[in-house]
């Protein structure tokens, strides 16, 4: 029978550490990949040609290279050049290069989606160019980029499983270790699959929820919520004064 005599204790004993490792890889790689992605997106729209070439070259390279190849080159290949990185650094760097390329494309799409009239309207109001970017362009670009970036975050979390090939000590490595001790591949890998699902499914739902909230105009920051509440009060007060006059007319 399935799970008959399965060494649950062994499975659970190593789980928290492996889980922590997977989350650490995901968090570190995603944060850095966002930075790389934003830089690449800016460089790809830059006026300086060599900058654009470099960013385009990077994007095409990592978009068309399997992730596992990048992991192998960085972890097994680079030591031949005297560059020896530990597993965590090597794995994170590979994930950052790979997902940075995709996020760069997603952010570029976000920037391009903002109508150039938006910038002009803000400038025409006398806003400083730097404030135009932070108050007008970025919030709109982020809205467009959010679904794609969220999907990439979930994909990255799943992508960390490839680090089993260099002994990343994350969930997939843990499963492989359990198999080597218990000789129960079906149970071990199914369980670890469930753990991945339990992580990724809520994360996907969270991103969708955030997307819907933003689209509906619900304020995300308390400062903006407060501002809108006060605006509503002022409107109500004004309508209350005006309504009797209108009725009288």
């Amino acid at each position: 029978m399935l799970f008959d005599g399965f060494d649950w204790a062994y499975f659970f004993a190593g789980l928290p550490k492996a889980l922590g490792m997977t989350l650490a890889f995901t968090a570190a790689a995603f944060v850095c990949a966002i930075v790389v992605g934003v830089l690449v997106a800016i460089m790809r729209t830059a006026r300086v040609l060599p900058m654009r070439w470099f960013a385009t070259g990077y994007t095409e390279l990592f978009k068309n290279l399997p992730l596992i190849t990048a992991i192998y080159i960085i972890y097994f290949g680079l030591p031949s050049l005297g560059i020896k990185l530990d597993v965590f650094i090597a794995g994170t760097v590979a994930l950052v290069f790979f997902y940075g390329a995709y996020l760069g494309e997603i952010f570029r799409g976000g920037f391009l989606s903002v109508d150039k009239g938006q910038r002009e309207a803000a400038l025409a109001m006398g806003m400083r160019p730097s404030r135009v970017v932070t108050k007008i362009i970025l919030p709109q670009a982020v809205r467009v980029a959010l679904p794609g970036a969220g999907t990439m975050m979930v994909d990255l979390l799943k992508g960390t499983s490839l680090l089993v090939t260099i002994g990343g000590a994350e969930l997939m490595t843990h499963a492989a270790t359990v198999v080597s001790i218990t000789y129960r591949p079906l149970e071990s890998y199914t369980l670890i699959g469930l753990v991945y699902f339990a992580l990724c499914f809520p994360l996907s739902r969270l991103v969708s929820g955030l997307e819907q909230r933003i689209a509906s105009g619900v304020p995300l920051s308390p400062v903006r919520a407060d501002l809108l509440r006060r605006a509503r009060e002022l409107v109500a007060a004004r309508v209350a004064i005006l309504e009797p006059q209108r009725v009288a007319r």
Binding site: A121, A124, M125, G126, M127, G217, A231, R238, V239, L242
Partner: protein
């Protein structure tokens, strides 16, 4: 080309009472195409100047050069006594920001900020540019939305408003900065007839209050009845600049051909 070193000479004060905008010898080329050919224009406080002409005649470019959204190729621009552009040199960034506070702009396709509600669109300039405290900014914004008849839509996103409503919010947004003049770039061209009436009503009220306005438009009735000056542009030049009635009576063949195309 922005340089603080030139700011002193560029921003020199030009004393001329009542004159708000003064453009002399303004030229603008896009590559080989000369869009503005030596344009001279002077606008006094309280004037409502309608700028008419065929598409591609340079009307919008002239308007966009005034607040330096477009960098002219040559000539000079002075706004409220401040020289902001002279012979290829733009004044310091500070002077450009001041210029843009003085000249509010309303665009053909509104360009409201879609991620902000109507009241936030109007309050943004007050908070960011005029640095008003939040409470005061909101009060002014709500008052202005009421002025354009949209106080009930204050917390709606632009996407939930009709074109005419969006344009009225855009006018309120421009008014929020207390500009000395408003520039309208074909404000009703993207609107249905009913919305057009609403927007023109707001503009007529502003003119009655003494607001200085430069209006690029195809609305002949507005130009004749609300505007007190009519400027006709053709091929990058101003071919008429007079009272509306006088322009309508002009014997200039180019002018006559323009109005003829209207009645057809």
């Amino acid at each position: 080309m922005t340089a603080d070193a030139t700011a002193i000479s560029v921003a020199q004060t030009v004393a001329r009472s009542g004159e708000l905008i003064r453009v002399a010898g303004l030229t603008k080329s896009f590559g080989d195409i000369e869009v503005l050919k030596h344009v001279d224009l002077s606008v006094a406080e309280g004037e409502v100047v309608s700028i008419l002409g065929r598409s591609g005649g340079g009307k919008s470019t002239l308007l966009r050069c005034l607040n330096l959204l477009e960098t002219p190729s040559g000539g000079t621009i002075e706004v409220s006594g401040r020289r902001v552009f002279a012979d290829g040199i733009i004044a310091s960034q500070r002077n450009v920001l001041e210029l843009r506070k003085d000249l509010g702009m309303v665009f053909q396709s509104f360009h409201l900020f879609p991620h902000l509600t109507a009241v936030e669109n109007v309050a943004l300039g007050l908070l960011e540019v005029r640095r008003k405290p939040r409470e005061e900014a909101l009060e002014i914004a709500v008052e202005l939305l009421d002025k354009v008849g949209l106080v009930e839509k204050a917390t709606s996103l632009p996407g939930a408003l009709s074109g005419g409503q969006q344009q009225r919010v855009a006018i309120a947004r421009a008014l929020a900065l207390r500009p000395k003049a408003l520039l309208f770039d074909e404000p009703t061209s993207a609107l249905d007839p009913e919305s057009t009436i609403d927007v023109l009503r707001v503009m007529r009220e502003l003119s009655a209050e003494g607001m200085t306005m430069l209006v690029v438009t195809h609305e002949l009735a507005f130009a004749e009845h609300v505007g007190n000056r009519m400027v006709l542009m053709d091929g990058g030049e101003i071919i008429e600049d007079d009272a509306p009635a006088a322009v309508r009576e002009s014997s200039n063949p180019r002018t006559r051909s323009f109005f003829q195309s209207y009645s057809e």
